[in-house]
Symmetry: C2
Subunit: 305 residues, 2 copies
């Protein structure tokens, strides 16, 4: 069977980019995987990776004959990198990214794409508190969700190709507008990160040895606070307004449970705990809880329906 693409190029292979390259290779989605990395030491490392066919020392050269370009640096660097190399794209090339905030990138990138090329934003909801090429793996995307964020006037064929691309990597794909995306991920991803960080930071201001006593509760609740700080700073800067709204809503929730406890209104406390439990229990299981894919992956519902 013919592969979906002849040539795929990954720009800035960190955890996500390198995992993408590995997945493309192992799932035979493209014949040739090329990369460009800003740092020479990363390029040297990449030359030894079995999933890398070609290493380029400029992004312009790396994208020149690619069918699909995957732009994977920190979110603040995505648009500048696209702008830098759009004029080197061949006609028919498709560009997507993996950024966690979409509105700014999608609007800006769309505006600079040359005739005959397309940009469609993507946000594969896969990652880890670990970062970098060293922690990459070919199965990072399997059974995870990918949000694809076309604009109203995006080329429908290009959107479909991007959806098919992520599906080929084993992801469950949903499309939504960049603005809806940014609101939703502010709540389901960026807010949890800040909450985990606030909890860690608070505990670091108490006796740090207390952490030795912690059970799995604290461990799980704070796990993502160990994530890449520069990456998160960039995400926060790009999605600032939605994140501030989510933080304000969260402060209100904490204030409510605190009032109930303060008032010794244990009926309300129980009610509050029940609402939280009810929500959490209906979250679909992690892929690791799915018995290695034996249990069918629960279907995504459209978020806005």
């Amino acid at each position: 069977m013919a592969k979906m693409f002849d040539k795929a190029t990954v720009l800035a292979p960190g955890l996500l980019g390198a995992s993408l390259g590995m997945a493309i290779k192992s799932r035979e989605v493209a014949d040739i995987v090329s990369i460009w990395a800003r740092r020479p030491e990363t390029r040297v490392k990449c030359e030894k990776q079995s999933w890398v066919d070609r290493v380029f020392d400029t992004p312009e050269a790396a994208v020149a004959d690619a069918d699909i370009v995957l732009v994977c640096p920190l979110v603040e660097a995505i648009y500048p990198l696209i702008k830098q190399c759009v004029s080197s794209l061949r006609s028919g090339a498709l560009v997507t990214d993996v950024g966690s905030a979409k509105s700014l990138v999608c609007r800006h990138a769309d505006a600079v794409m040359p005739e005959g090329t397309d940009f469609v934003g993507s946000h594969p909801m896969a990652g880890s508190e670990k970062s970098g090429l060293e922690n990459a793996s070919a199965d990072l995307f399997e059974y995870r969700t990918c949000l694809v964020t076309p604009l109203l006037d995006s080329n429908p064929k290009a959107v479909e190709t991007v959806v098919r691309f992520w599906t080929e990597l084993g992801m469950e794909v949903a499309t939504l507008s960049p603005e809806d995306h940014d609101e939703i991920v502010a709540y389901i991803s960026h807010l949890p990160h800040l909450v985990a960080t606030a909890l860690s930071t608070l505990l670091s201001s108490k006796n740090p040895r207390w952490r030795n006593f912690a059970g799995n509760g604290l461990r799980d609740t704070t796990r993502i606070a160990a994530g890449d700080t520069k990456m998160w700073k960039a995400i926060i800067a790009q999605n600032r307004d939605e994140i501030l709204r989510a933080l304000t809503a969260f402060e209100r929730e904490v204030g409510e449970i605190k009032s109930a406890i303060s008032n010794q209104d244990y009926f309300e406390v129980l009610n509050y705990l029940e609402r939280g439990k009810h929500y959490r229990q209906r979250m679909r299981p992690d892929r690791d809880e799915l018995g290695q894919g034996i249990v069918p992956f629960p279907r995504l519902a459209n978020p806005e329906s």
Copy 2:
């Protein structure tokens, strides 16, 4: 080798109590494990459990010839249950519990213990968002922390026996006062639970389908919100003052990160993220990350040193 105890009695075998009975049996810490459960249906279930030697229909009968009594109901029911059966204890009997709040229980229980018997409070930091006998397991306590909370005038021999008991079950034990315990767990256990709950409750008030998009970040951060709500209500009521202090401190942290984002002070945002990451990275690994005990269990430092 002689077992540590002839007879151990578990009162109210839920997740913790039943796991205790299993662990006592499988690690040969006592010859005979007796149980009492409030519900007849639980007593009937217990008769079929391989780790149960005797089932009693009153707590008084269950404790009558026990060397060690393990009191395992919801924290609000611990002291009433102890009070109910102290006069049935044999001389030399040792009583401990598994409650998550210690000050009230330890003071009250100590006051009613008959001459020649001892109560020493315990809090094994093991558990799960799952509850009940059905989810019990003999290895629940292995490589976990147990906090033992003697009073200043507790019998040193009894304290040592309780410490040895939990050590025999594979736990790392630290002793501290009930008051220090309650402050510390407010921060490392009760606050994380409320934070996870607030996050879940907030998301349940948005479009609940958003949860289908969530990655592991939200899943981990909210996991404990699925815990037993009645148990948590009881814990909150027993440790209310310390929990309110911890919530206030947490609100201040969230306010700080929000200000930094609002002011676009990304230097401060990065600094804040770094502090959270630094703390989290130094948390000792979970037993599951220890390679099944191959990596040595990191030593507990004394929390107050």
